[in-house]
């Protein structure tokens, strides 16, 4: 960390008049008063070790929000669980919790507060679990403490405390460990028995080993393999065959046959094979579960978009209540920049609504009284009144959350295909076993059982069962490590097959930028205007706000107080006693509907006397865009730009990137039509967008890739999220997806070849069951090892610089 970067948050410090924070006896330069306050508060708590332990800079400090509303009994009931009169528990999702040092800081800082009984922080899930004494401290004070540390707290509903996710992962871990330990013991006994076959063994000792093998394999089959049996029974009730069916059947048959052999003293036993089979399958499931839980965090982010408070009209005026207290027919007031709490109908007056959350259209839409409004969308010019029609689970937003949840838990098409194959396969194996038994019973009844068992064991479908999930889970895990989140595993297959990449321009290939030369100054100097603008935007994480701060980095630093953000419109604040406004022209000039001076997308800075400066946004290429397009071209993939922007700008960017095909000024309908044409021509289309402006278009592509920043990450339409906003990770994702398809095919071919060669030999009685067991284990080990090769060769990208923008992502 250098002297130019803020000691607390790591962003660039202003050049002139540095702000200094005193931490551990030394002066450190910070970028803003907010960071100074946060750093010094951390110091007074004696927690300055945080700066030594952390692995990444903190979130920029945004000032402390008001949390008093969280003390309302109605809200508390939903979010806080009281275990006794002096003990309550709440789970808080914390934005900005980035590394273990943050977790340490939060834990230490909160433990020091009187009334806090216990603090548990999970950095991975970004959750803080708090136990406190509600008589001594209020929830709002706890949330305020988190805000003062520079984090944004979002209490989760109490249902999350006994989270199903936690129970699921605990149970899976126990099953896995029991299966692992059981397998080791069973194999130890099996090795002794195999050695005994060659070197001779005392019959009593042999008998003893067989019983011990039975003993250690029993918990593996009866406890660890339970999910397979449950799944098979569930599928059977629905009259379907799934992957669980052959697995459960094989486990049950092998276990029962071995058990009978132990009791009657007959032939070979297979406790080692059956335990190992269960262990490998559980391992694959465990990895898949962890990937799914990670995707679950995305859903939490979505659920957060809905406001928790609403202003209801009552006889005596407006009362603030919790959203879940609303009922259909209630009338609520929604202010400028606030989100609509429930689906409903506009009562009046006419207004403009930002529905980018759902429609993907970031331009506000005019709504007349009587028209429908959707929960989660933002009111640009309020206040308005809304009659509530649908609440809670009936809202469109809740529907999207459900969709994402389902997508995350559904088995991908590839796995379903493999399921169907394995189900057919198991039917054939059972038929083969039956034929073998009958044939041997005819010729030589004594050899019927060993031969039948050999067929069953040697053809055990585990190689088939593991072929697809092992490759899929490995690919998802490898990508997650590299900042690519796969929400929908089907998307991986489509990504590998995609032969057309379509890019949105703004926010995807380019990022916004303000050129000093193009700033139009009406009054005062350029430096002054940039300084005021940067001060107003000091706590804004929107790309435009960041760009403006970059542009104003060299201007003399000012401090804005009483900042108020109006979402979708702009920001206002006091600097040196003057009230400034920065944002859309109509917001800054207090003149709704008056789009001044033609250039509608310029940000306007104004004080009560009128316009000071206009900032027309321009854009610059993302650092890795050129590398990405060139590499895709080298791989024989055609790239295309579909943008709603003006033709000249799109043509300019396309020229810079050497993309021949582009469509400018395209409405979402045009974009959808273009996708339909390409898909009708047989192309597999990948659409890359920023996830906000392109939602419907993203949903229509074969594979949708969203470049995630903040809330855009939450969007339901995308199958793959580039969490790091590094464009080049898209190349890695494509590479890993292609490798996964190759490995998957190898796995299936290997399983097929192995079974085709082994089953006839076993049926003819040439394979003794112990050899069959070794063959079966070996075939599944081959599959697992082959899958683990995915992503082993780190992909090297030529001249892919780490983008500057990463620091702010």
């Amino acid at each position: 960390m250098n002297a130019q970067a803020c000691f607390h948050c790591g962003e660039a410090n202003p050049d002139s008049a540095p702000i200094l924070a005193r931490v551990q006896g030394r002066q450190h330069a910070v970028c803003c008063p907010g960071c100074k306050a946060a750093a010094e508060w951390i110091e007074t708590l004696g927690l300055a070790d945080y700066y030594r332990l952390r692995s990444g800079p903190a979130q920029r400090h945004d000032g402390v929000a008001d949390h008093a509303a969280w003390d309302r009994p109605a809200l508390a009931r939903l979010h806080v669980r009281s275990t006794s009169a002096d003990r309550a528990q709440v789970i808080v999702l914390v934005d900005g919790l980035r590394c273990s040092a943050c977790a340490w800081l939060i834990e230490r800082a909160l433990r020091g507060i009187d009334g806090v009984l216990d603090v548990g922080v999970n950095a991975l899930a970004r959750r803080v679990s708090l136990e406190f004494d509600p008589r001594r401290i209020k929830l709002s004070s706890l949330l305020a403490a988190l805000s003062r540390l520079g984090y944004v707290p979002h209490p989760l509903t109490a249902g999350m405390i006994d989270s199903q996710r936690q129970r699921e992962s605990r149970a899976a871990l126990k099953r896995l460990v029991v299966a692992g330990l059981g397998t080791m013991q069973a194999m130890m006994m099996a090795v002794a028995l195999y050695a005994g076959v060659f070197d001779g063994i005392d019959p009593a000792v042999r008998e003893f080993f067989r019983w011990i093998g039975f003993l250690v394999a029993t918990p593996v089959v009866l406890y660890s393999a339970q999910p397979f049996f449950r799944g098979a029974v569930r599928e059977w009730r629905a009259r379907r065959l799934s992957m669980d069916t052959p697995v459960a059947l094989a486990v049950a048959l092998i276990y029962l046959a071995s058990m009978i052999n132990v009791f009657v003293g007959g032939h070979e036993i297979y406790f080692d094979s059956v335990s190992m089979f269960v262990l490998f399958l559980l391992l694959g499931r465990h990895l898949a579960m962890r990937a799914r839980h990670r995707a679950g965090d995305v859903v939490d982010a979505l659920a957060r978009l809905q406001p928790v408070l609403a202003e209801r009209r009552e006889a005596a005026g407006y009362t603030t209540i919790a959203v879940h207290e609303l009922e259909a027919g209630d009338i609520v007031r929604v202010g400028s920049g606030a989100a609509i709490p429930a689906d409903g109908e506009l009562l009046g007056p006419r207004c403009r609504i930002d529905e980018s959350l759902l429609s993907g259209e970031s331009t506000p839409i005019a709504r007349e009284p009587g028209q429908a409004l959707i929960a989660g969308s933002l009111v640009i010019d309020g206040p308005i009144e809304v009659i509530v029609r649908h609440i809670g689970a009936d809202t469109v937003l809740a529907g999207i959350v459900r969709m994402v949840t389902r997508a995350a838990s559904e088995r991908p098409a590839l796995a379903r295909l493999a399921d169907a194959r394995a189900a057919r396969f198991v039917v054939r194996v059972l038929a083969a076993t039956l034929i073998t038994t009958l044939a041997w019973a005819w010729f030589d009844p004594g050899r019927a059982l060993p031969a039948a068992l050999a067929v069953l064991v040697v053809s055990c479908p585990c190689a088939f069962a593991l072929a697809v999930p092992s490759a899929l889970t490995r690919a998802v895990a490898v990508l997650a490590q590299r900042g690519v989140l796969v929400v929908d595993a089907d998307a991986l297959e489509a990504l590998a097959r995609a032969d057309r990449f379509i890019f949105d321009k703004t926010g995807t290939l380019t990022e916004p930028n303000f050129e000093r030369a193009r700033v139009e100054v009406i009054r005062g100097s350029l430096e002054q205007a940039l300084g005021i603008a940067a001060a107003l935007e000091q706590s804004n994480s929107h790309p435009l706000g960041l760009a403006l701060r970059r542009a104003g980095a060299s201007a003399p630093l000012k401090t804005a107080t009483a900042l108020r953000h109006v979402q979708g419109a702009g920001v206002e604040g006091d600097i040196e006693g003057i009230r400034y406004r920065l944002g859309r022209a109509d917001f800054s000039l207090h003149a709704p509907g008056a789009d001044t001076a033609g250039d509608g997308d310029a940000l306007v800075l104004a004080d009560p006397d009128g316009v000071i400066a206009r900032f027309p946004p321009s854009e610059q290429l993302r650092p890795a865009a050129a590398t990405l397009i060139r590499s895709l071209g080298d791989a024989g993939i055609k790239c295309e730009i579909l943008s709603g922007d003006r033709a000249a700008r799109v043509a300019h960017i396309a020229g810079l990137l050497a993309i021949d095909e582009f469509t400018a000024a395209a409405s979402p309908v045009d974009k959808l039509a273009r996708l339909a044409v390409l898909r009708a021509q047989g192309h597999v289309v990948a659409m890359v967008g920023d996830g906000i402006n392109d939602a419907p278009v993203l949903a229509a592509a074969d594979v949708a890739i969203a470049i995630g920043e903040g809330s855009a990450m939450a969007h339901a339409a995308s199958g793959i999220l580039l969490a790091s906003s590094r464009l080049e990770s898209l190349l890695e994702a494509r590479h890993v997806a292609a490798e996964m398809l190759v490995r998957l095919k190898q796995n299936l071919n290997w399983a097929l070849a192995y079974n085709l060669s082994a089953v006839p030999l076993a049926a003819l009685g040439f394979v003794p069951p112990w050899l069959a067991a070794i063959g079966m284990s070996a075939s599944s080990i081959v599959v697992i090892l082959n899958s683990l090769r995915i992503g082993r060769h780190a992909t090297a990208w030529p001249d892919a610089p780490r983008p500057v923008s990463e620091a702010v992502a």
């Binding site: 708590l45 273990s100 230490r108 999970n122 871990l173 011990i212």
Partner: protein
């Protein structure tokens, strides 16, 4: 050779104890977060009171 008739059951009992201990640990949230606690011992304990003066 007969000693294994005693040793193996003993090892199985120990295994059972191990699994019981592991289940206890899982049920007491020891495996819920494997990332955060690793840092705790790296730092010194905080002073008794935030404003305590250095001796």
């Amino acid at each position: 050779m007969n000693i294994i008739l005693l040793l193996i059951p003993i090892s199985l009992v120990l295994l059972g104890v191990g699994i019981w201990a592991f289940f206890w640990a899982v049920n007491h949230a020891q495996f819920d977060d494997l990332d955060t606690p690793s840092l705790t011992p790296l730092s010194e304990d905080r002073p008794a009171a935030p404003d305590a003066e250095e001796p």
